[in-house]
């Protein structure tokens, strides 16, 4: 399972970086989105995977029995998703503004001296 998730996260990174190196604004933004999801998956995988053992104290006990899923990475990812979503929304609006102001969605054109 770890290998699979590590591969998935690696593919997301690679695809994200590839898209960011393209010239269109839309591709750049999708790339950023993929990159942030790849990162989330990486946190999840690096935090250690424990299958079907939620960190809940059973009714009869007062303590958690040893193998249980670490809730912290999930909390971290949740925060990162929210932040990433907000930033992605902002970037979309900014890209719209770039297109409206500069009349191009070509990153090379955006950078050209006027």
């Amino acid at each position: 399972m770890e290998v699979l998730l590590a591969l998935a996260s690696g593919v997301l990174y690679a695809a994200g970086i590839y898209l960011m190196l393209r010239r269109r604004l839309a591709q750049l933004i999708i790339g950023l989105g993929l990159l942030s999801n790849g990162t989330n998956l990486l946190i999840f995988t690096a935090g250690g995977l424990t299958r079907a053992r939620p960190p809940l104290v059973p009714n009869a006990d007062t303590e958690l029995a040893a193998p249980y899923a670490d809730p912290v990475p999930q909390a971290l990812i949740l925060t990162a998703i929210v932040i990433g979503f907000g930033l992605l929304a902002f970037t979309l609006v900014l890209a719209h503004r770039v297109h409206a102001t500069l009349g191009t969605d070509d990153v090379d054109e955006v950078g050209r001296e006027r």
């Binding site: 960011m20 990162t39 690096a46 250690g48 907000g86």
Partner: protein
């Protein structure tokens, strides 16, 4: 015990009040200034407490560390939070000289407060993930401040700025994921205790390089600084001043924190890498500044170059060099903020910051020229001001650490700074103006007063250099020994 959270809560409250208050410009400006002044007062109170009673810690929600979110304020954090307060007051006070009405209507004042909150939070947090959140908060505020305009140059600059910063954030988050995977905690003090046992040289190297990459983009180190001169000269001067004074310093602060707490035992080449990047930053920044003809672009490149001083001091990791670096950061925050505000006066007076359109101001605006002279020559490193003292401390630290090449390059770059600033002063104030250039507007009392007040802060730092040096030396010792920090956060049983 709630003192460490006040510099974060006050701007938050001020931002909320500003959003609710009627959108009358004068009212908004006064509320913003009052909020910033309160934040400065809280920061000074916090600093005095840290100075007298040692590191202040607040476990948010009374969750004991390392389980909850920790706010920890050592001397470095306290000094930097005071600097945030000073910049906040300066920037909010400069709004009295007039803000573009569109910006003011779209939330200029609350955004500045959110920015101040984010920066203060980043300096005060004792948890790496929390640091990431503060980074993002501060970035979102800066994105909106940057993008609140429609001219093509500003939109273009905002776009570059946003993209590179999002990439840096992704790298930071990646490093955090791996760090948590390796250590099982992100509390800074907890990490400092367990990392020597958990981290292997390989893990150290991978994580340190990821952190270095992320924070060097934010701090603007060579070869990752190109976004900075491409964007900082476009927004209005007050926003540029806040960015230049604070944002890159958060990157430097994060580098200092990670490298003193976690990677102090990392393989030697890592520090050589940081040193090489710092030296290259200094040289490239200042050489590039010589090639510029626009006041604000010259400042941007000087800003980049001088970040190199502070990280060079860090990379040597000796108490003297680190103390010099901390002193230099403080000096630089005050002076570069001041100079970006001076560029705002230039914009008012001549509608341009291009040196070709300036000149003759010595004759036409003598008061402004005198006010501007002090920050320009302080940045240049003319004795006896703080720029000179900071450089002296870093050079002395480098020689003491037997890094003679570094010390030599710092001296050489100091000469370049002097040249660059002398050229700027001559070009903007001294040379005769072109006959068709005349002053469109008076410099404006608010901006001159703010600039003069910041110059007074510099003078005070110069006069009080000895006690200040004692404090930054103590702060460097705190950073390097780590024990006090760990004990303060985790309690006596932390080790």
């Amino acid at each position: 015990m709630t003192l460490p959270v006040l510099p974060i809560l006050i701007p938050l409250g001020t931002a909320a009040v500003l959003m609710l208050a009627p959108r009358r410009p004068l009212l908004q400006r006064w509320i913003a200034l009052a909020g910033a002044a309160l934040q400065l007062a809280a920061a000074i109170a916090l600093f005095r407490r840290v100075e007298a009673h040692g590191i202040q810690v607040l476990q948010v929600g009374n969750w004991p560390a390392p389980f909850g979110i920790t706010l920890a304020c050592d001397l470095l954090s306290a000094l930097l939070v005071v600097a945030v307060g000073v910049v906040g007051v300066a920037v909010t006070a400069s709004a009295f000289a007039g803000v573009d009405p569109r910006r003011e209507a779209f939330g200029y004042h609350p955004l500045i407060q959110v920015l101040l909150m984010g920066v203060a939070g980043a300096f005060l947090t004792g948890d790496f993930f929390n640091l990431y959140v503060w980074f993002e908060l501060m970035l979102v505020a800066s994105f909106v401040l940057m993008a609140l305009h429609r001219t093509s140059a500003q939109v273009e600059a905002a776009f570059k700025y946003v993209t590179i910063n999002l990439i840096a954030s992704s790298i930071f988050l990646t490093a955090l994921g791996l760090l948590y995977g390796a250590a099982g905690t992100l509390n800074m003090a907890h990490l400092a205790t367990i990392w020597p046992n958990v981290g292997s040289p390989g893990m150290d190297a991978v994580l340190a390089v990821l952190f270095l990459l992320a924070f060097s983009i934010k701090a603007g180190l060579f070869p990752l600084f190109f976004w900075l001169p491409a964007s900082y000269h476009t927004p209005p001067a007050a926003i540029g001043a806040a960015f230049a004074g604070l944002l890159t310093k958060v990157g430097v602060y994060a580098l200092i924190r990670t490298f003193t707490l976690l990677f102090h035992g990392a393989p030697r080449p890592l520090f050589l890498l940081l040193l090489g990047m710092s030296v290259a930053t200094m040289v490239v920044g200042l050489v590039a500044a010589m090639n510029e003809r626009d006041f604000r672009r010259i400042l941007s490149f000087n800003l980049v170059g001088h970040i190199g001083y502070t990280t060079a001091g860090l990379s040597l990791l000796t108490p003297a060099a680190l103390a010099g670096a901390v002193f230099y950061v403080l000096h630089h925050i005050v002076v570069i903020t001041n100079l970006f505000l001076v560029s705002g006066v230039l914009l008012r007076v001549r509608r341009t910051t291009d040196l070709a359109g300036l000149g003759g101001l010595w004759r036409s605006q003598p008061l402004f020229a005198v006010v501007a002279m002090l920050p320009i020559f302080t940045l240049a490193g003319v004795p006896p001001f703080t720029g000179f003292l900071g450089k002296l401390a870093i050079v002395a630290g480098a020689f003491e650490a037997e890094a003679y090449w570094t010390g030599g390059i710092v001296l050489l770059v100091g000469l370049l700074t002097l040249l660059s600033m002398a050229r700027t002063f001559t070009g903007a104030f001294w040379k005769p103006a072109e006959p068709d250039r005349r002053d469109m507007m008076a410099p404006g009392t608010p901006l001159l007063a703010v600039s003069a007040a910041l110059s007074l802060v510099t003078v005070a730092m110069t006069v009080g250099a000895e006690p200040l040096f004692e404090i930054v030396t103590r702060s460097a010792d705190q950073l390097l020994s780590r024990e006090e920090y760990v004990r303060a956060v985790l309690g006596a049983g932390g080790r």
